[in-house]
Symmetry: C2
Subunit: 183 residues, 2 copies
Amino acid sequence: MPHISLDQNLPGMRSLLAYRPDIAGPLGQLANTLLRSNNGLTMAERELIGTYVSYLNNCFYCQHSHGAIAACYLDENYDLVNHVIRDYANAGISDKLKALLSVAASVQKGGKSVTDNQIAIAKAAGATDNDVHDTVLIAAAFCMFNRYVDGLATNTPTDLASYPPRAKQVVEGGYGGLVPVVK
Amino acid sequence: MPHISLDQNLPGMRSLLAYRPDIAGPLGQLANTLLRSNNGLTMAERELIGTYVSYLNNCFYCQHSHGAIAACYLDENYDLVNHVIRDYANAGISDKLKALLSVAASVQKGGKSVTDNQIAIAKAAGATDNDVHDTVLIAAAFCMFNRYVDGLATNTPTDLASYPPRAKQVVEGGYGGLVPVVK
């Protein structure tokens, strides 16, 4: 049961966006700016970072929502998504993304956990300042999203088949399409 | 040294907002919506929650920035701000705020740490659904802000006298005044 009165027909974050449209606006804009860009990191890479941090934070709803979005960008390659979550160092991804996932894991623990050495490794693998920036903020933002969704004990669908249809909507229309219009 | 090329004349979050104006817009709107309202929780209470979470996350810049803003709303009562941070259970604040600070401390650990019993105590002390919602999201948002500021190793002024002038600007003009205009 959610800790506050939310529409029980809506899952996770969607129930919160419906509850507080005034908050949904800035959160939707933040998600679109951070996750709906191929400038530097691809949209697939951004979603993989968010999915991995959600896994580390044990947020079932966000992990499966964003895992399905990442898979959508990766020709439905759920094996790759799951490999990244469980053991990214041996997954079929670039050395740059591996280094940035290491940074994201540190951010999940706390901002001060990120080391100069981790950043040096990421930059040696080709990460730009913007890639480092986006990785840190995506990881930090999922530390917010995950706590928002689970801290209010929102409704979490356990049927994994319910996530891909929502993922397709995001891939086609962005996060704005899930956010009520704020006047 | 910051992990990326930031304007060294600007401290903490301000250097990040200048670096990425496209991100500054949604973050400023989120801060204004969450922190610049007396609907339910007062602005002072909202800033106390943010200050306390920043303390728990060991984010010197955010703790002192938002502690100074809270003090501004509380007739410069820094003793109260420091008492809340160190031992809120015995500070001169309402039982409702004490119960909500307990919820915020759980959110800082992780969303699933919030218990039904904590929420029941907060509601018995007069917290509405919106108060609980805002507490959880403020705590979650500071888990993002703190990680963003420290995860990129931004410049952190150690001179505590540098914080009150910035706090006064926020109290007078809101967070929008600190955010570059995005067209």
